[in-house]
């Protein structure tokens, strides 16, 4: 054998110290690569483009508008109203589902494939892997929201038109400010969507089961909506993670009110932090015995 070994490619007695320790960047790159290699990621993003276009086309072709939903009355002849109608619908379960398909899977799939032992015996710590996975999930949630919003707004405006919009207080909103308000309303979904992402992360870590990680946040979202719709529990409403999904209503009233938006920021941030910290602690303490 020479000083440098053929098989191991290094001086066999070299000190076992790494030159550069991989950081969060490496974990982010790795998780992104895996996500990109999965069919479901592409399917979700393509769906986020095609489904809203189909919905807009179908609603637009109805002889009578869906009167009993918010902005439904104007949706067939006003593109902005159409985009807001789709937003109201998406907030019910589409957004939680969109994010949990990735976030609910990203930890539990390591259990499913038995790969925890594979990744945890490299040079990246559990914590770094945790934050890498979490940030990639959040990144995906925002990307999916962006794609869904862009497709919905573009399809609505192009197919239905950009007539002046009638606001929630009956006021007329000129197209220029209507565009801004519609975009802002969709943007308001970002924080509660991050909240649902973190909830899915928690279930993914805790249950170690992909199906639970994906389904539980959606079911919890539906239950919260049901609870929120019940009378007599007004004190509970601000704490529900589904309440921030409705905070955009204030933007379309006259005068505008942003109280629910601020509350929504706090609620979403609270849920996100609690879920992430809990998930982090569970993963940190866990014995990796499977796989």
């Amino acid at each position: 054998m020479t000083a440098t070994d053929v098989l191991t490619g290094r001086p066999t007695q070299a000190a076992p110290v790494l030159g550069s320790r991989p950081g969060l960047g490496a974990a982010l790159r790795w998780e992104t690569r895996k996500l990109r290699a999965q069919l479901r990621t592409k399917a979700l993003l393509i769906g986020a483009v095609l489904v809203p276009i189909a919905v807009v086309v179908i609603v637009h072709s109805q002889p009578r508008p869906p009167k009993d939903t918010l902005f439904g009355r104007f949706a067939t002849d006003n593109g902005f109203a159409m985009a807001l109608l789709v937003l109201g619908f998406a907030a019910q379960w589409v957004l939680p589902l969109l994010t949990s398909i990735v976030a609910g899977d990203i930890f539990a799939s390591e259990d499913q494939h038995g790969t925890w032992k594979t990744v945890l015996t490299r040079s990246t710590s559990r914590s770094t892997l945790f934050w890498g996975k979490s940030l990639v999930s959040i990144g995906f949630a925002l990307l999916a929201l962006l794609v869904l919003a862009a497709a919905t707004i573009a399809a609505s405006v192009l197919i239905v038109g950009h007539q002046p919009l009638t606001g929630l207080s009956g006021q007329t909103i000129q197209p220029q400010s209507a565009v801004t308000l519609v975009v802002a309303s969709w943007a308001c979904m970002a924080l509660p969507m991050i909240g649902f992402t973190c909830l899915a992360i928690l279930f993914s870590v805790w249950s170690r089961n992909v199906a639970v990680g994906i389904a539980a946040p959606v079911v919890i979202g539906l239950v919260m909506q049901l609870v929120g719709a019940l009378g007599g529990i007004e004190s509970l409403r601000p704490y529900l993670l589904t309440t921030p999904f409705e905070a955009w209503h204030g933007l379309l009233a006259e005068p505008r009110f942003t109280g629910p938006l601020l509350d929504g920021v706090i609620t979403s941030a609270g849920w996100s932090v609690v879920c992430l910290v809990a998930a982090y602690l569970v993963l940190r303490r866990r014995d990796i015995t499977g796989g």
């Binding site: 054998m1 070994d5 053929v6 098989l7 191991t8 490619g9 290094r10 066999t12 007695q13 070299a14 000190a15 076992p16 110290v17 790494l18 030159g19 550069s20 320790r21 991989p22 490496a26 974990a27 790159r29 790795w30 690569r33 895996k34 290699a37 999965q38 069919l39 494939h113 038995g114 790969t115 925890w116 032992k117 594979t118 990744v119 945890l120 015996t121 490299r122 040079s123 990246t124 710590s125 559990r126 892997l129 014995d287 990796i288 015995t289 796989g291």
Partner: protein, 311 residues
């Protein structure tokens, strides 16, 4: 630095509920050594290796790897360490190469060109761009070795690397481990095959139900080994048994199904066989049952009977 132990585990304990999977185990592996941890199913080998790699935490005791501990050094404990636990697992939707590249990322980046060299070494170069989903068991096992080698380790931890492989696969895997060991790598290997450990290792710890049953050099183990045993079938087993009665150095008993089991020093058994032939008893079968070391292993781990039935 080089006189520092590669592995220095002292009084390590890990219990799962009421089962003490690892019960005050002490194992020391010097750099450059090839060390075997041997034991039957459930002895606690995997549990010990998991603690070494930081996958589970010991209840008590300390595990040092090149002088580092998980409590103090965190993931840096694994610098210069690689290996796999049970069968290696990969992402089925990625190709073999993509899996290795990704794991290389988590190592801080693999040297360019290194990947191809290693794929060549483990004989996967031709299939590297196929998805792991379609890999055979043996290919996955070899990919596991490749994933370990890209870390350019000084200590290689292998948990039953030949498990589940066909005879050719076992032979190749052993040859590979030997080559790695010859190159100066420290190897810590678990196995439930005495012959594997005997062939590859310098030192061995035999575990039984979480405890140490034997600890020392293979040479010491050989010295303790009992006489070899043979399975014998003759034209007249009753008379053959009587012949054995005349030879004090040879013990013959009726085997559970048919034939005889004979133990004794090689010379004595040879003369016994000669006696049989002289007495007109013809041999229909004469096969070594297990090597003396295997025999010792079963004696030490208390599972002789059960394993005999299985075998």
């Amino acid at each position: 630095m080089d006189d520092q132990l590669a592995v220095d585990a002292v009084d390590v304990v890990k219990a799962f509920g009421s089962i003490r999977a690892v019960d005050e185990i002490t194992i020391k592996v010097a750099p450059g050594e090839v060390y075997g941890v041997l034991g039957p199913n459930g002895a606690g080998k995997t549990t010990f290796l998991r603690m070494l790699l930081g996958l589970i935490r010991p209840d008590s005791g300390t595990v040092r790897v090149f002088g580092r501990t998980w409590a103090h050094d965190g993931i840096a404990t694994l610098d210069g360490v690689a290996g796999f636990i049970e069968s290696p697992a990969f992402y089925p939707y990625l190709t073999g190469r993509q899996n290795l590249e990704g794991l290389g990322l988590l190592d801080g980046g693999a040297r360019s060109g290194r990947l191809d060299e290693i794929l060549e070494v483990v004989d996967l170069a031709g299939r590297a761009d196929d998805r792991v989903r379609g890999y055979s068991y043996g290919m996955r096992q070899r990919l596991g070795v490749a994933a370990s080698l890209i870390r350019e380790p000084r200590l290689l931890v292998l948990d039953e690397p030949a498990n589940g492989l066909d005879p050719a696969g076992i032979r190749d895997m052993r040859a590979l481990v030997k080559r790695l060991a010859d190159s100066g790598l420290t190897v810590l290997l678990s196995s439930h095959h005495m012959d594997e450990v005997e062939e590859i290792c310098d030192n061995v710890t035999i575990m039984r139900r979480g405890e140490v049953a034997f600890h020392g050099a293979i040479a010491e183990l050989r010295a303790q080994a009992p006489d070899p045993g043979y399975a014998l079938a003759t034209t007249d087993d009753a008379r053959a048994l009587a012949v054995a009665g005349r030879l004090p150095a040879v013990t013959a008993t009726r085997a559970p199904d048919s034939g005889l089991t004979v133990t004794g020093p090689e010379d004595a058994v040879s003369s016994y066989v000669a006696d049989l032939v002289r007495d007109g008893i013809r041999l229909r079968a004469f096969t070594p049952t297990r090597t003396p070391l295997e025999q010792l292993f079963f004696m030490l781990t208390d599972t002789g009977v059960r394993n005999e039935e299985v075998a």
